[in-house]
């Protein structure tokens, strides 16, 4: 074993410190890091800092964490714990990375629900698998053929196509001495549209939460592109945790992320938080957005209506499935939802898994 020169040891230790804190740093990057420091001089600690930042490709949202580790390692300072925000009016968006992105929501000027308090009620509950197993199996079987699709830019050969495929035609012609006897055609491929499920997990929906989360799990597995978020007083992205194929395990993992389960409902703020994170809003662009919620909004109805309007402009369709729906001709009774109705492509039955599944699978036919 070769000995490590004392001069570069701190840099190697720093790389492994970052690795311990969950930054993805491969050995070749460590090598590049040391080369980079050599290239810059180094004239001072700032050069070391800038090299690490560039070579280790530190994402902008983990910069503070990185800065703290850097100071702790090279300047001998203790890493201060980040001060917790005391402000209850901040809407948290949660992604399962162990980090939180705080998005400020509009100030509460008027309270619509008089009993509602600004304080959040947080909870933890392991959601059991639920819902209609048969309906979920039906969804898995028919997802590939029945989910809405859109035209892709890519093409594939097709007899029924109307675009001439020059490459295939030429190959054909060569076989016949350069004589074009028959044109070959192609047509645009179809790709499944992304589906974004926004699931209300607040107290008023607690009875159907097992069914809706099980449905989300089935959909994430059955569809090529699907995303699932939970809404309550916060917004949580649960897609990654639902990727586990065992439904029980997936729901346990998802439950551990959702900290606002059975709490209050601030759909408008949660939707605004969804739209404020460009990566999340990008997921909704051109997508089918399905909101599973009763629309019992504790926050300001205006906030919810304007955020639904924005969402509708971004997405291909926004469908609102409410468990309060009694039949096909459902007219929403809650104030916020009836105001938001003009922006929705459809408001339908969300009371049973069967109803939700048949709604989602029939969109392609209706549209």
């Amino acid at each position: 074993m070769s000995t490590i020169p004392a001069a570069i040891r701190p840099f190697l230790e720093f790389a492994s410190l970052l690795r311990r804190h969950g930054f993805a740093i491969s050995p070749d990057l460590t090598e590049d890091f040391i080369t980079a420091i050599g290239l810059l001089g180094p004239r001072g600690i700032r050069d070391v800092y800038l090299s690490a930042l560039a070579v280790f490709a530190i994402p902008a949202d983990r910069r503070d964490e990185f800065d703290a580790l850097f100071r702790g390692h090279f300047e001998g300072l203790t890493v201060a714990a980040q001060a917790e925000s005391e402000d209850d009016d901040e809407m948290d968006t949660l992604e399962p990375t162990g980090r939180e992105v705080e998005v400020e929501s509009a100030e509460d000027e008027r309270e619509a629900g008089m009993e509602a308090t600004a304080a959040e009620r947080l909870g933890y509950r392991v959601v059991p698998a639920g819902g209609d197993g048969q309906a979920l199996a039906f969804l898995s079987r028919h997802a590939a053929s029945d989910l809405p699709r859109r035209r892709s830019y890519r093409r594939s050969p097709s007899r029924k196509g109307r675009i001439v495929d020059p490459r295939a035609t030429l190959r054909r012609a060569i076989r016949r001495d350069g004589e074009i006897l028959q044109l070959r055609y192609a047509r645009p491929r179809l790709r499944q549209r992304r589906i974004v499920l926004l699931i209300d997990v607040s107290g008023s929906m607690s009875a159907s939460t097992p069914a809706t989360l099980s449905l989300a799990h089935a959909l994430v597995h059955a569809a090529d592109r699907a995303e699932a978020f939970t809404l309550g007083t916060r917004l949580t992205r649960i897609t990654a945790s639902l990727r586990v194929s065992n439904r029980m395990q997936a729901l346990v993992r998802a439950s551990s992320l959702v900290s606002d389960i059975d709490g209050g409902t601030r759909i408008g703020d949660a939707l605004n938080a969804f739209l404020a994170v460009p990566r999340f809003a990008g997921l909704a662009r051109g997508a089918l957005v399905v909101v599973l919620s009763d629309g019992l909004e504790r926050g300001e109805p205006d906030t919810m209506v304007s955020s639904v309007a924005r969402l509708a402009r971004l997405a291909w369709r926004v469908d609102w499935l409410s468990p309060l729906a009694t039949g096909p001709g459902f007219v929403p009774q809650t104030e916020a939802l009836s105001l938001a109705l003009p922006y929705l492509s459809a408001a339908g039955d969300g009371s049973s898994t069967r109803g939700i599944v048949s709604h989602i699978l029939n969109i392609a036919r209706a549209a």
Binding site: D32, L50, S51, L53, A54, Y153, P166
Partner: protein, 293 residues
């Protein structure tokens, strides 16, 4: 990996920053360092940031100071080999078959090959800078393909064989971060997050880009734009918008409008979303730059 400490006569981040300034691009210390390291280590440079902070401009300026042609590949969802790598000129091939008659003709020779950005950069690595713009808009399949391309710089064409770059070309990737890029792609690159510049720096940029604008106007516009960026707008004004707003307002002012009016009438250059304008509403008059110059 060959490490070069000097690229086109540039031997330090400070020298690179100075050269970029000569090329009409003001780069901060972090950007200059990241770009210098990318060039020296021979790795691609990945620039991420909000729309309108000058990522593409940075790549173009880099191309200018290195004396390289910028070959730009604009990514989009569904981008495929025939628009990114190469395509065959089918019409010419057909004609060639016809003309050849009984003679032999090689249909897959170079004269029928249409170079697309990636192949063009691969064939002229010493004289070109490959700009892969808005990589976040492409889909995962293309990103996976790029990963392979960026590690060995080879393209295989089934009809002819494999093309290999004699040296790794200079590559700049940009992303608006509408989605997270794959960790493996980030690892292959030197990374820099371009943020909105400090007010002082941004005013310098306005002065450099728009020669008609007075310093006081530039400062006032930058201050006002910075207030707007604090608001939860759908599309906060980028640097290009700042420059254009300053220019537009100066133009209107020289045409006889007084200052607040000139700014108000040209607001469409800075804020391009009806919701944003209604959101700011009455407060807009307070945010607007007041008496400038």
């Amino acid at each position: 990996m060959a490490v070069r400490s000097q690229i086109a006569g540039i031997a330090s981040p400070a020298a690179l920053a100075a050269a970029l300034t000569d090329a009409q691009y003001i780069a901060g210390e972090e950007l200059a360092t990241a770009a210098y390291l990318a060039l020296a280590l021979g790795k691609p440079l990945l620039l991420e940031g909000a729309p309108g902070v000058g990522k593409t401009e940075a790549a173009k300026a880099l191309g200018a100071i290195l004396g390289r042609n910028v070959i730009r590949l604009q990514c989009f969802e569904g981008i495929d080999a025939s628009s990114a790598l190469y395509d065959w000129n089918f019409a010419a091939q057909m004609l060639a078959i016809r003309q050849a008659g009984e003679d032999h003709v090689n249909l897959y020779s170079d004269r029928f090959l249409l170079e697309r950005p990636l192949l063009a950069a691969l064939r002229n690595p010493a004289t070109s800078l490959l700009l892969i713009d808005e990589i976040d808009r492409s889909d995962h399949e293309f990103e996976a393909f790029l990963l392979e391309f960026l590690s060995d710089f080879t393209i295989s064409i089934p009809e002819t064989g494999t093309e290999r770059a004699v040296e790794p070309p200079v590559v700049v990737l940009t992303s608006n971060r509408t989605r997270d890029l794959h960790e493996a792609l980030r690892r292959r690159c030197v990374y820099h997050w371009i943020d909105y510049p400090d007010p002082g720096l941004e005013a310098d940029i306005v002065m450099m880009r728009a020669s008609t604008v007075a310093r006081a106007t530039a400062d006032a516009v930058v201050a006002s734009v910075n207030i707007m960026r604090q608001e939860p707008l759908q599309k906060p004004p980028g640097i290009a918008e700042t420059v254009e707003w300053a220019e537009a307002a100066t133009l209107l002012h020289s045409g006889g409008s007084n200052w607040p009016q000139a700014f108000l009438r040209s607001i469409g250059v800075a804020l391009k979303d009806h919701d944003d304008l209604t959101y700011l509403g009455d407060r807009l008059m307070q945010i607007l730059p007041g008496e400038a110059a």
